[in-house]
């Protein structure tokens, strides 16, 4: 297997607040990695660093063999990194279908019928096809989250970054989401998933890392990580009922 993503000693601070502290890890092509950590640990900031929304103060980020540290967010998206935002960022005045088309045409670089077909396919998969002509601004939270996933998939990513996409879902919705993410994973897309709904995470990922204060404090096989005293301490009160 080849390496798809590598972070080497990445650091980022806003004044006294450190969001990434000498952060290093790698991801194999086709692997699914889970990220745990308390609120404010720097998980979303780590995604911002990988997607180019934030520039690191130090360190190096390599994607598919290329050093992308200096590239902007748009270039990284076109090269195959897609994300879903924790706080959904829909294009509120555009329809759901047009939101998907933005990803298919701008990021995946498709045109005409090909782009339209991909969007319909993905909307069907994410159960948003019935809402295709609705303005994204009028969607419920659940559908906004589905739209985040839809847009990310219409970008035809090699690496998919999911940011707390299962939060606030009912048990049935969560089960459906897990099935969707599993099938995305099975199609060969590499995934990094930040999630507080631990059982959802455990159902998909092959490896876990735990982050606190921007530092990686644990890494390894999911079950072993969840049982480690360090993680138990941070996550006291959160059940791991996988």
């Amino acid at each position: 297997m080849t390496q798809i993503l590598q972070l080497d000693a990445v650091s980022k601070a806003f004044g006294a607040v450190t969001v990434a502290d000498d952060l290093s890890y790698g991801l194999e092509e086709g692997e699914a990695l889970g990220v745990l950590g308390p609120n404010g640990a720097g998980k979303t900031s780590m995604f911002n660093l990988i997607t180019g929304t934030l520039k690191p103060d130090a360190g190096r980020i390599t994607f598919a063999g290329d050093d992308i540290t200096a590239l902007g967010a748009a270039r990284r998206s076109r090269s195959g990194i897609a994300r879903s935002f924790q706080v959904p960022q829909p294009f509120t005045h555009m329809t759901v279908f047009e939101n998907a088309m933005v990803a298919a045409t701008q990021s995946a670089g498709l045109a005409g019928r090909e782009a339209e077909r991909l969007c319909i396919e993905v909307l069907d998969q994410t159960e948003l096809l019935d809402k295709a002509n609705d303005r994204a601004g009028g969607l419920t939270l659940l559908n906004r989250k589905r739209l985040e996933l839809t847009r990310a998939l219409c970008a035809k990513p090699r690496l998919l970054l999911l940011d707390e996409i299962a939060g606030g879902l009912t048990e049935a919705e969560c089960t459906a989401l897990i099935a969707t993410i599993k099938s995305i994973h099975a199609s060969g897309v590499s995934i990094i998933w930040i999630e507080h709904v631990v059982h959802a995470l455990m159902a998909v990922v092959e490896r876990l890392i735990v982050i606190d204060f921007g530092r990686k404090i644990a890494e390894g096989e999911p079950k072993a990580i969840m049982d480690s005293p360090e993680v138990q301490e941070i996550y006291l009160g959160i059940e791991a009922d996988a």
Binding site: T53, A73, R78, M94, V102, T105, N133, R151
Partner: protein, 338 residues
């Protein structure tokens, strides 16, 4: 049961509007045969304002670049027409096209400077640049310096035989400019780039994360609108036959009125500038005799519209009736066969 899915990019209202629009265009093309000299002149002016308004709408309403300095390119285009015909002996039509190209070229370094500014600072920056343009052209003594110059009669005569033929040509050029600009804006907004522009207008963070290079997209729009604005500027001063720095770089004539048109008609819609231009000229032609009171009425209309219908006349209609005469979006249609 299978579901057949079709993507539609038009509507019945748009088809009707297209037929009616084509009919109106045919009637307008024939205007030199049915309209008087004064009417022809007025209509020519209306078309050039429509072109300016559509361009400013693309710039401000879609790309979010609220410029109050587009008079820089109106004046630049006008001066290029005079300079290229007088000094280089180029035929006026070639000079007009070249003025557009030069306008686009000069907008590149201007963009590199003013794109460092945001929001209100950007607006002021564009105005300052327009003043720089005015001061520079006022220094060119060969073009009459501060008092300006007229287009030599032999150049004017070279365009067409006789005054009425010349006026008809001038009219058709203005009509052509308006048609080309509105069509170009429409096609641009329907394209892949248009989708990117609309996305940027909604959410810059998500746009960048979905592969849209925001700076480059805005830069592209700025350069294209500036070049086309320069062509319109050349046509404006071809009608006037006389140019001076104050007239060429007037913030009132080429920006304030244009902003009025776009805001009244409905910013961020293709239909808005068309409606706005009609409203503006209706007001101007009925109130022109009132002198300064005319400007006060304009101001009052602007204030009332901004308070009562902030999306302008067309924004109000679209909201009420879900109507789009220039369809830009996509509609997913499903027909179920059992």
């Amino acid at each position: 049961m299978s579901t057949d899915i079709r993507i539609s990019r038009t509507s019945n209202a748009a088809k009707v509007a297209a037929v009616l629009g084509a009919l109106i265009v045919v009637i307008l093309i024939a205007a030199p045969y049915w309209a008087g000299r004064a009417d022809l002149r007025l209509m020519g002016e209306i078309f050039l304002y429509l072109a300016l308004a559509s361009l400013w709408n693309l710039l401000a309403g879609y790309a979010g670049l609220v410029s109050v300095g587009q008079q820089a390119y109106v004046g630049f285009g006008g001066y290029m027409l005079f300079a290229l015909t007088i000094f280089s002996g180029l035929p006026p039509l070639v000079a007009i096209a070249l003025a557009g190209l030069l306008g686009a070229l000069i907008s590149i370094p201007v963009a590199a400077l003013i794109f460092r500014l945001r929001g209100a600072y950007f607006a002021i920056g564009t105005w300052v640049m327009a003043e720089v343009f005015r001061l520079v052209f006022a220094q060119v003594s060969a073009l009459g310096g501060g008092s300006g110059t007229s287009l030599p009669t032999d150049i004017v005569r070279s365009m067409a035989d006789g005054r009425s033929a010349r006026e008809a040509l001038s009219y058709w050029l203005a009509l052509g400019a308006a048609l080309i600009v509105v069509t170009a804006v429409y096609l641009l907004l329907r394209s892949r780039k248009g989708l990117a522009l609309t996305a940027i207008r909604d959410n810059e963070l998500a746009s960048a994360s979905l592969g849209i290079d925001i700076w480059r997209t805005k830069f592209f729009v700025y350069v294209v609108t500036s070049g086309l604005t320069a062509i319109v500027g050349a046509l404006i001063f071809l009608q006037k036959l006389r140019i001076s720095p104050d007239a060429a770089f007037s913030v009132n004539d080429w920006t304030a009125f244009v902003i009025f048109i776009v805001v009244i008609g409905g910013i961020g819609t293709i239909e808005g500038p068309i409606i706005g231009t009609i409203v503006f000229f209706l007001l101007r032609e009925t109130l022109a005799d009132l002198g300064t009171i005319y400007l006060m009425v304009l101001g009052l209309v602007a204030i009332v519209v901004m308070l009562k219908a902030p999306q302008g006349v067309w924004g109000f209609i679209r909201h009420r009736f879900d109507l789009q005469l220039f369809p830009l979006g996509y509609r997913v249609e499903r027909s179920k066969d059992s």
